[in-house]
Symmetry: C3
């Protein structure tokens, strides 16, 4: 890999060939080297059950090869053609409301549809057969943004097969789902139906009468869609074993357990569409999560908009410099590509107003074209300096889809608890300190970390409790929160006072958890030596009895005034922290400030608020990214000798101050 | 009945027998004497169409008998087993949206399903046969929290039969429903379909094009479910005529006309799950309503949580003392039991986090266990002191399901009118004065009351207008509000100026009723002799012309400034009050203060705000309950000689002050 | 036409004949001369597939004739009878959610149902045959408030036929809908399904994946319903060619393209139910639109409530004088009738509380009866003074259903853009100046206007761009806004920088349009000579580059601070204005103040705020309506000699001041 890939989705089939020439002229100017082709080409290529017509795709591929472009080649199976829905109605989905869908939209295929399974595999086969020997294909892009769910009778049948494989007997299933509750004992596998608005749910996806079946259906649905991916991958690998295979993930996307998916991808790629203009911490977290899926390996930024989205209620344009800044943020966190959706704006349908590098006018003197070309030229200059480079974080945050699902489908104690929001809150508090962070799964090895954080780790599985005890025994610091440690892998309660399997490590006992409306505030008072201040808290309140643990903070109000809200337990060589309430951000910032200080984890470069600093390491070389997310210029004080990659400037020693303009980026190589 | 029953729902079938022993050890300590068994046991017992297996239930029953516990025995028909939904799909419901449900949740059976009717009756029969001779069964608990509605074709067919029986001819039905409106004349019974989102409703349950059919369907649905109850009751009574039969009601539950149900129950029982921590007046009202269903007979508190619910968006724990306080409140209002849901917390599914006496840890040194045991010991001490005791209220509030339904499904004048909220508003104003209140039906005898209040009594039926006129003629005081008196039992308008059939009694004429957004305030000015002040009003404004009546208050603003808003009519020996607008609480408080003063209805015990006082009478003895709902200690000044039941303290005369701690309770016997 | 028709909907079939006599007595007193009969009479008349029974309708008609009343005769086809839904299920609709409806509500027939098409045509035929020779029928009233939509298989099939007729080939359709996007290429007409929640839509009617198919379905649906109208009209015209035919429109009603419908109506009529008490500008706009549908011809006000609606969440009564004021407003804007819904209030079902002239009491000394009679007497006095009179506006606002649809179903740039709200905002700014305004279609001739305004004219069709250029070249002033000019008739983007086909005329270039949450405000600064002030703006912000145009205002904040927000382009003899952001009302008021001044368009009568002035012209005579919408008396200064029609007072010269009481009306004839 001789440089960071630059380019993105390109759909020339929507345009006459004269436009292609305009496009390629600009690509050259902007150093665009990589094109993702054919993402929604199914109806174009497969015109009927037996007819595949590659005429147009051949022209597109030939032109890309002729122009010397890398191709990320899609299999095109993310939206089935109309004829398929018409002739093979099983390809469409039944939704959560139990409604059978007709043809439309995209990402519309039932993962267990016999027709879809047959045709999608065949399509991948045909694509590999036709284009497998194009030496400019650098990756297969299977499907697109896999997701959603289906509740049709094919899924229902496949669910029963999945359950039989998992549980073996109905007795075990009945035990796992606790079916003596509410007269739910199953005596025949055929009695099991998909859990949705017509069966176990009270109208909403998160409100189920039976967590066990709903949780298993979420797992089954993720697995079903993964099987679609694997089926295509197998035929591609058979035809072209050397071409790496991916599919574009969607970051913190709840329906798919990406940790389970990751092993099947040759590399991770994802699409970054943050919800607003203040998303830098959220994006950082998500990049780290995507990198963590494959234990730190670089990933691809497969999509981002060069300017604006279209599908939101409102769609702000990216401010000057922001597209470049966010592109480098992806790179700083481990991306080896900067790819856009899309190269030329569609002229009709629902992405007509979605931003693109080239807009409806085709003019190249637009702000977007100019900024894109500048970035392309920079990336060309950077070359392969840090492609393949990895991170060396000493902090890990545990991210777990099962806990996410379990905590959000739970009846009680509070529906105001959001897994994603909580992860962002904890990440943000650390983000402030410019420390490198890995996002890991519960199964990963903790030994390389000094600090492991697991907010809302509701579910205990694979001996996590024992493994984390060992980590702390050996000197590690572990931190967790309310609602952690208290259910097993079937979402049944650990039969113990809370925090369940973590109570020994935490050295506390919790009999009661109060929950109130988020507007009803309590507060905590820091009482341990060296701590001070009061902070508001809300939503959830564990009534902690400190046993072996020390109370760091206590509640300031209500009948549990004076009871511990935050505790720290010395556990052999290490420490275990428990946060019993949803406390305001300022507390988390103070908390991590102290912990990082104790653990001597800190960034040697001192920077003003708004600056983000991340490092990548390659062949013993360290590359430091200084990103200014603020609206104004910000300063950082360097700690050694560095060379700036973009302008070749040399920084000659510790204490030297560097000023980074608003939204600007500095990339330093440590000398 | 030798004491107040204490205990609650118990589901040992979800646990191994060693846990049962732990449970019974605690029951003994806590003086728990009554267990409700088998509520959701259908799937456990009936394993197929023809197989009933009582093995586990036998063990449970034997143990309860051996341990000397009273059993409230459920028939278990509140949730059908999965095999039944699979093999007899007619047992599941079609919802308001017209969607046929599959298996899931609970309370899930169509009341007119042939299979459900057959199997539920058979189940009751089997239970009676198996356990009917257990002398420790103190009641049959049929089904559980009956409710909901169904719109399937079986219901549709049964609805037509119900209509034929009610109307006899289509001409009468067409007249009742006013079907010349909007081309709705029915010429064949088969043309009538269930009114829901696919027929007469605009998406929402309260928004119908035809009030007549919707109202009749609500009545039909209530009757259909009542028929399920009666069918089970009949087989139980045949087998065990001596065991009283009940089912647990849900307080102010709109779908079922409990006044119509009550005659079929041997005693009333209900489940008390108030929406928030400030619900004392609401709970008081509801207890009074439950007591009123059987004309003042004691009822059972069948369920309450000892600590927290799970199904709400957030679920606060009951504060220290609150469980005990609310238990005694139930008793003060006529309950002869204090029962919980449930004895031991479920380990999985949607009630995993619902509070229970024994939680997942099984520890008995929790706050909940300690408070429960203390209460159990107190109740044991109290014994049968006032079991069976009744109230002697001189105030009645008329509660009417038909008016509730009619006023809330009405198109116009305002969808911001809530029957339940209005009842609570009026009750709250009286609650302040610590006067005993009965909740009665329109059919009840008024002669024992001095004051009858009927807010929102929209529908006139069974000569209510004439009977209430007689009540007033003889010296009674009657008070009603906007929207009262103006439709007949088919929800057709009384062809008269408003308040329709009550206009003569009220001595007023209303041609126009203005309604505004609740945020748009007007105000009233009190103008009658002895009255003063202004109060804000909103939402609805009757433009009253006082004829025989006197204007007590007039509007302060808008084009009807100066027109009466509140009137009083001297009608022979009595008085009739009309409240024409939704006025703020302060006015209602002043209003009832004056009326109670005039009628010389007052509690001889003078208490500070926050104290509730209620009395029960048994064999000429009076028991006075002083309940402190406030967050601080409050005082009351006694009017005579009393003995305190819980601490045997004697109070020796009028004027003595008693201080009641926050959330504490004093029970006095008048000597 | 010898006077303004006065009366309205009358449903005596719901009442016994003795009530009819009461009604007619009042009609006489109130000078009510016109009754709309039989609107929902289908079930009454057609009792089965083959049985028509006119007994009751004959009596009704005879009585009306005997009493000398004009009849607006309905065909009664707006709600099919229950037997029809039962025996011919294809008459009911399938809704947007894909749910097949059963019998209920009204306006419930599928427009492409074979049964409905057959029976509705037959019903019109029968009505014409039975009553066609009643000389007192002054109009046929087909159906009632046509509207809604259906997605059944009959509609789906008819949609394919409609598409074949429109596009001829699938290639053209695929091109129009841009189906290479998202794998949507259709190879067989049968593959096309109706776009709804089960196919192309994401749950909401405005959120579609394919604008092309959704837009065509909206057009198809409007056409389908229009075909129902035409089918009835044809049989009526055959039987009674001399009787004019109408149907009652609903003002700014999105589902039906009334400009396309208008040519098929002999005259326009509409139902005026404004959403609140501050709707004078909105109603004025809507009256102007209804008049504009037939190029200025007078219309009928077919319905308004005399007092209150019933279907709203709350339903305020019309304040004293308001019913009269709004009646005259309709007349001032071109109505030749003042008709109510309805004459006597229904006693049951969903319009039981809808206001009527005669209420449930039947008393005639109510405020409503008194105000109605007073108005009737005034209209009798006015006679035919200005019936048939037209307006002479020099300002036109372009209203376009296609743009309305396209802009609101668009994905991006902002779902906060409302076509209707924007039209009202621009109209309101002009309304302040008491200038006559025409609402016109894009196809109308602009030559009689000095100023043409086209807010949100998203879609360019029928050479609008060229025709409006010619208008400006010849000296006209044209004003448009953001989102105008940028899609073709298939909603595909004009391949150009914005404003697309209007860019030459506007002399500007727009590469980017920012959209933000409506709460995020920016502001504009007026910088051109003679302009001053700053105004807040929000929601949408075009980043304008002024080319030939002059910047009148620039943005005050954000990265586009200083870029033009409002521009003016001198284009040969005329001027072209472009408004690039949603700016607050104060700006539009200043803007139009200047433009009207420049164009010397102004009302010679100078009036205080709250006064509306409109004129009608007949046979060279001018009638001036002065309407005081304010809560207090307001003054106007006359410019010449006038005679007041209602009180015969003479105003003798320029400068004379006239005071109009709150809610009062003065009608002047210019002498």
């Amino acid at each position: 890999m001789n440089k960071i890939y630059f380019g993105g989705d390109y759909n020339p089939e929507q345009w006459p060939e004269q436009v292609w020439t305009e496009d390629y002229n600009y690509f050259k100017e902007a150093e665009i080297d990589t094109l993702t082709l054919g993402v929604f080409s199914w109806a174009l290529i497969q015109k009927s059950e037996d007819t595949y017509d590659f005429t147009e795709m051949d022209e597109i591929m030939e032109r890309a090869r002729k122009e010397g472009k890398n191709v990320c080649m899609a299999t095109g199976t993310a939206a089935h053609p109309p004829w398929m829905a018409h002739q093979f109605p099983d390809v469409t989905r039944v939704d959560f409301e139990g409604r059978k869908h007709k043809f439309g939209i995209r990402h519309n295929s039932c993962p267990n549809s016999p027709a879809y399974k047959r045709f999608s595999k065949k399509m991948a086969e045909k694509m590999a057969e036709r284009y497998g020997d194009y030496e400019n294909i650098i990756a297969w892009h299977i499907n697109n943004e896999y997701g959603g769910s289906c509740y049709c009778e094919h899924c229902e049948a496949a669910f029963r097969v999945w359950l039989k494989k998992k549980y073996g007997t109905l007795d075990k299933l009945n035990e796992a789902w606790n079916t003596k509750f509410w007269s739910h004992i199953f005596y025949d596998w055929e009695e099991i139906v998909a859990p949705n608005a017509l069966s176990e749910h009270y109208g909403r996806e998160n409100v189920t009468a039976f967590q066990g079946i709903t949780l298993d259906y979420m797992r089954f649905n993720s697995d079903s869609i993964l099987n679609n991916f694997i089926a295509e991958k197998e035929v591609l690998k058979k035809a072209t074993p050397a071409i790496p295979v991916t599919t574009n993930f969607m970051g913190m996307y709840r329906p798919l357990d990406y940790f389970k998916w990751a092993e099947h991808l040759d590399f991770i790629s994802w699409d970054n569409y943050p919800p607003d203009m203040q998303s830098e911490a959220r994006m950082a977290l998500t990049h780290d999560l995507m990198r963590g899926l494959k234990k730190g390996k670089p990933f691809w930024l497969m999509e981002q908009t060069p300017s604006t989205t279209a599908c939101r209620d409102f769609n702000a344009v990216k401010r000057p410099g922001v597209m470049r800044l966010w592109s480098y943020q992806a790179v700083a966190h481990g991306s080896d590509s900067v790819l856009f959706f899309q190269m030329r704006q569609s002229k009709g349908a629902s992405e007509k107003y979605h931003g693109a590098v080239l807009d409806h006018s085709g003019k190249t003197d637009t702000r977007v074209c100019i900024e894109t070309a500048k970035l392309g030229q920079e990336l060309a200059k950077i070359g392969d300096a840090f492609t393949g480079a990895e991170s060396k974080a000493r902090i890990a945050i545990v991210f777990d889809w099962d806990s996410w699902w379990a905590v959000e489908i739970s009846d009680g104690p509070s529906r105001y608890i959001s897994y994603q929001k909580t992860m962002i809150d904890y990440y943000k508090a650390l983000f402030h300190y410019n420390v490198d962070i890995d996002l890991i799964s519960v199964d990963d090895d903790f030994s390389s970390y000094k600090l492991v954080i697991a907010p809302l780790l509701h579910m205990m599985k694979n001996n996590f409790d024992q493994r984390i005890e060992q980590f702390v025994q050996k000197g590690g610091t572990f931190l967790t929160t309310y609602l952690s440690g208290i259910v097993d892998e079937n979402d049944n309660a650990i039969l113990s006072e809370r925090p369940g399997l973590l109570k020994k490590l935490m050295g506390i006992r919790i009999d009661e958890t109060d929950t109130l409306h988020p507007d009803d505030k309590n507060y905590i008072e820091l009482i341990a030596d060296g701590w001070e201040g009061t902070y508001s808290c809300d939503t959830i309140f564990d009534l902690i009895q400190a046993k072996e643990a020390e109370a760091v903070a206590v509640y300031g109000d209500d009948f549990y005034k004076g009871m511990p809200a935050v505790t720290k337990n010395h556990f052999e060589a290490g420490e275990a922290w428990y946060i019993g309430a949803q406390v305001e951000a300022g507390f988390l910032k103070q908390l991590f400030g102290k912990i990082l200080e104790d653990l001597a984890i800190q960034n040697p470069i001192n920077a003003e608020e708004g600056i983000e600093i991340r490092s990548r390491f390659k062949d013993e070389e360290q590359y430091v990214f200084i990103l200014n997310h603020a609206q104004k210029a910000r300063k950082a004080v360097l700690d050694g000798v560095y060379r700036s990659l973009l302008d070749d400037r040399q920084y000659n020693g510790s204490g030297e101050t560097i000023e980074v303009a608003a939204k600007d980026v500095v990339i330093l190589k440590k000398m």
